[in-house]
């Protein structure tokens, strides 16, 4: 796997992490639009994209678990690294649980109801906040503490 990486990449983690972030945000947008225009294909698309985002989060999580021991972290960045790791856990659990719930809700047609759709949208926004927090800490590790930067 290491041989497949571009020369500049310290590990595979930075190549993967953008997928769950972008996919989740797009899924939330689909939810938002489906509140205005209640179309089945919009709900189906949202559920599919949430599922893909959860899978992306799973891969990002395991790649992060591997990456954390491959990079040198200055002492000042250790708390940020720990918090990034913790938030990565929380985000993964939330994404997977939420994607499963959305799948079941779509299958049972619960998400046809406006109140349920609004609740799902709000939970989707919570998920976006969680991944934003995780990403913020990851960005801080790289751009403030220089973790994963090659000389």
């Amino acid at each position: 796997m290491q041989q497949l990486l571009p020369d500049w990449a310290p590990n595979i983690h930075p190549l993967i992490i953008h997928f769950p972030i972008a996919l989740w945000l797009v899924a939330v947008l689909f939810d938002l639009i489906s509140l205005v225009r209640s179309k089945d294909w919009l709900r189906k698309s949202a559920v599919t994209i949430y599922g893909l985002a959860a899978m992306g989060a799973l891969v990002a999580f395991f790649s992060g678990k591997q990456a954390i021991d491959l990079v040198a972290i200055p002492f000042q960045g250790e708390v940020t690294a720990s918090n990034h790791s913790d938030w990565g856990h929380y985000t993964l659990y939330f994404f997977v649980a939420y994607a499963v719930i959305r799948l079941v809700a779509y299958w049972r047609q619960w998400d046809n109801k406006k109140a349920v759709a609004i609740l799902f949208l709000l939970l989707g926004i919570v998920g976006a906040g969680m991944v934003a927090k995780t990403a913020d800490l990851g960005g801080k590790l790289v751009y403030k503490y220089g973790v994963g930067i090659k000389n």
Binding site: A22, V26, I33, R37, A72, I73, E78, V79, I149, N151
Partner: protein
């Protein structure tokens, strides 16, 4: 119907591009701060060393006595180095939680370059000496030479006493990360490294529930456990022979 779908897809794409654009803008705003703070780990270490030297030279926030010298930096990090006194008193900077001076016979020796090293001659009795100050989240790095030592050397932190502390230990090419609770050892992780016949930079970090043991910049052990109450940091020896210590760096790890 198809045109509505295309319209929605176009709007979605436009929103995604707008979000990406905003993100880039924010990056540019932060560029100057980034330029100041971004550094590689090695650069960071070099800068820390330079800063330490600068502070040493200017006498900034440092105190020296016949025994060791302690240099403080702005973020409360501290680097201890042995002084040049003939009658070195280890207890000026440290106190013992097990054993005593008679078990390690400390003395300051000087190498050809004029650098001071603290030489400890361990007699086989477990001995641990810790700084007087307590710490919570902490990073500790010790520049040591254990070529003449046969036994286990531990960097200990969150130490209440010898029966309650956390540690990273090395013995030969093996490293162990864990904690002692009421005298019972709990191991978080174990690893191995290539033993080298020279100075090594043994490092440990305790950040919340995350604990790591490093050999230089390489992570050898990584484990997790409950956060412990603040405690002392220091060094524990259990073995026979000579250990040389060039410096000990203590960095309090601030929560965000």
């Amino acid at each position: 119907m198809i045109s509505i779908k295309y319209s929605i897809a176009t709007v979605l794409l436009a929103i995604v591009f707008m979000i990406a654009g905003c993100s880039q803008g924010k990056k540019k705003e932060n560029a100057s701060e980034h330029d100041k703070s971004e550094m590689s780990h090695d650069e960071g270490q070099n800068m820390a060393e330079e800063q330490a030297e600068h502070e040493h030279a200017s006498g900034e926030e440092g105190h020296h006595h016949e025994g060791g010298s302690i240099e403080m930096s702005g973020n409360e990090s501290m680097t201890w180095k042995p002084g040049s006194g003939n009658n070195y008193t280890l207890t000026e900077d440290f106190h013992f939680i097990i054993g005593g001076l008679e078990n390690i016979s400390p003395q300051v020796i000087q190498n050809d370059s004029g650098d001071n090293h603290l030489q400890l001659t361990a007699n086989g009795s477990p001995t641990a000496f810790v700084f007087h100050q307590t710490y919570g989240n902490v990073g500790m790095a010790a520049m040591i030479n254990v070529v003449g030592f046969d036994g286990t050397l531990k960097l200990i932190h969150h130490a209440k006493n010898v029966e309650n502390h956390e540690f990273v230990s090395i013995n030969g090419g093996k490293m162990k990360l864990g904690r002692m609770v009421n005298g019972n050892e709990e191991v978080f992780d174990e690893g191995s490294f290539d033993p080298v016949n020279e100075w090594i930079n043994l490092r440990v970090s305790a950040a919340g529930t995350h604990f790591k043991g490093y050999m230089g910049n390489e992570t050898v052990t990584h484990g997790h456990g409950d956060k412990m109450q603040d405690g002392y940091v220091g060094i524990m020896l259990n073995g026979i022979g000579n250990v040389l210590i060039k410096s000990i760096e203590i960095v309090p790890l601030e929560d965000e």
